[in-house]
């Protein structure tokens, strides 16, 4: 699904946000990107949905050469993937239903497809009963679920999440991660950039750790810290 080969992202001031990264992520995988702030997690995600282009290297997402993608081809790439952010990025003057439908409307979907798909997706994220409410009337967890519904509305094969639980309390965090797991079980590839050690340690999925723009560890069923669960750190 995702293939990065020798990818470097350097800013004009010479700082390297990512330094010679190579990474393969298969179809249906669930991967955590971990590391301190400023280690390049968000930059890596941005390269995948072509918010930025790499300075060097090759990036392939779902068979598309993203590093060479022309500007006018970017919308086609983005219709194949969903993106979720820490701050939800919902439109406050639109209801939950309208926010989710918006993603289909602006890509030219037919009304009957929208009428069919939106209730189904809202049902999946558990927000069907709040579809007429505005984001300001929802809890943070519900807002994030609405954002996930919007990311999923076009049935993407890949879901990119940038600190999806960063603004949530532990109970909402658990709910969101369970939702992401359910989505993953249906075959969607999920990449989550996070600081949240508890989440990573509890879920025991693949963990890619970044430091100073480089991949330092890549473990199947890993912990936030190399080979150590949270309880072991606390007791040690």
């Amino acid at each position: 699904m995702i293939s990065l080969r020798n990818v470097t992202l350097a800013y004009p001031n010479g700082v390297r946000a990512l330094d010679n990264i190579s990474l393969e992520i298969g179809k249906g995988d669930f991967v955590f990107l971990v590391g301190h702030s400023g280690t390049g997690k968000t930059s890596l995600l941005r390269l995948l949905y072509r918010e930025m282009a790499p300075s060097y290297g090759e990036i392939i997402v779902d068979g598309i050469r993203v590093d060479r993608l022309k500007r006018r081809r970017v919308p086609a790439l983005r219709r194949h993937l969903g993106v979720v952010f820490q701050d939800f990025k919902l439109l406050t003057d639109k209801t939950v239903w309208e926010n989710v439908a918006f993603a289909m409307q602006v890509t030219g979907a037919h009304t009957k497809d929208i009428m069919r798909q939106v209730p189904r997706t809202l049902d999946m994220v558990g927000l069907a009963h709040k579809s007429r409410m505005y984001p300001g009337e929802l809890s943070a967890g519900e807002q994030q679920r609405a954002a996930i519904a919007r990311a999923l509305i076009n049935n993407p094969k890949l879901l990119l999440c940038d600190e999806p639980t960063g603004n949530l309390d532990p109970a909402n965090t658990t709910e969101i991660m369970e939702l992401l797991q359910r989505i993953n079980l249906k075959g969607t590839t999920i990449v989550v950039a996070t600081h949240n050690q508890a989440v990573v340690d509890r879920m025991r999925r693949r963990v890619v750790r970044l430091e100073d723009g480089r991949i330092v560890t890549d473990e199947e069923r890993g912990y936030y810290y190399l080979g150590l669960g949270q309880s072991q750190i606390l007791s040690g």
Binding site: K89, V106, H110, T111, I114
Partner: protein, 293 residues
């Protein structure tokens, strides 16, 4: 036809348009003022053009013949003048008629009875289709056999032609300036709307909306600004045309308006088209610039 899509699109346009109502009013007002000035300017230009045209139409070339020109020469000359496609009419004034005319014009001022013989030559009075041909035709006639001299309002023709050329150039410059001002104002308005909707635009881009789709509601907004502004202007001009110009023409009956330039319905349609086009072009540029960054 998917009415849901149409409704969504019109909703977006309406939302854009009402979000910055104050700024839209400013843009529409500016376009209206610009188009009123432009329309007024074109009116004045048409009036002055009409006056100039009238003056030039009255200009005739007088070809004075040699005293000894024979009837055959006169007939040949007449035929040659009629053959020239630039010439619209030729009038032969024999010296006897010329003297009569002179007597009539100078009656009570100069006593012509002292003349023992007619000193005037025969004259051809030549009119041309286009005033700009007067100097060339005059020169050609001067070279024809039997012609002693050629007289026309050389200075006034030259000045009027020169004035016309300058007016055209100044006119184009002024029009371009007006249109630029209107374009810049609409462009600024659209930029404000784009800025107010930057979150929505970011989400549209994130979920894969094409640039054309994102652009279209803003283009429609610019189109509406331009069209409404020029409609307002056309209304003002139509009222002014009905109320004011008839009085102006009564007060200055010698004014003639060139109907080709201000044939009212066509003229107003052109102003509407110019206003709408300015709106579309200005918004196209300002959204395009935002989407590229």
């Amino acid at each position: 036809m998917d009415w849901g899509r149409v409704r969504f699109f019109l909703g977006e346009v309406f939302r854009n348009f009402t979000r910055n109502a104050g700024m839209q009013a400013t843009a529409i007002g500016t376009v209206a003022v610009t188009i009123v000035l432009l329309g007024g300017f074109l009116y004045v230009r048409a009036v002055l053009g009409g006056v100039g045209h009238d003056l030039l139409q009255q200009i005739r070339i007088s070809a004075y013949l040699q005293q000894n020109a024979s009837n055959a020469t006169i007939a040949q000359l007449h035929a040659a003048l009629l053959k020239d496609p630039r010439i619209s009419s030729v009038q032969f004034v024999p010296k006897s008629v010329g003297l009569k005319e002179l007597r009539k014009e100078t009656k009570g001022v100069i006593d012509l009875s002292i003349l023992t013989k007619n000193p005037l030559p025969d004259v051809f009075r030549v009119s041309v289709h286009s005033a700009s041909d007067v100097p060339a035709v005059a020169a050609a006639v001067r070279r024809m056999p039997g012609v002693a001299n050629v007289v026309y309002g050389k200075t006034i023709v030259r000045r009027l032609l020169h004035l016309g050329a300058v007016m055209r150039r100044v006119g184009i410059a002024v029009i371009v300036l007006f249109l630029l001002v209107a374009g810049i104002i609409i462009s600024s308005t659209i930029r404000l709307t784009v800025f107010a909707r930057r979150r929505e635009i970011a989400i549209m881009q994130l979920v894969g909306a094409t640039s054309a789709f994102i652009r279209l509601p803003f283009i429609c907004e610019g189109f509406l600004d331009g069209l409404l502004g020029s409609l307002l202007a056309v209304g003002i001009l139509a009222v002014a045309h009905a109320a004011l110009w008839s009085r102006v023409f009564r007060a200055l009956p010698w004014l003639h308006i060139d109907p080709r330039l201000v044939n009212t319905p066509l003229f107003f349609a052109q102003l509407l088209l110019v206003g709408a086009a300015i709106g579309v072009i200005a918004s196209w540029i300002s959204v395009g610039r935002y989407l590229r960054t």
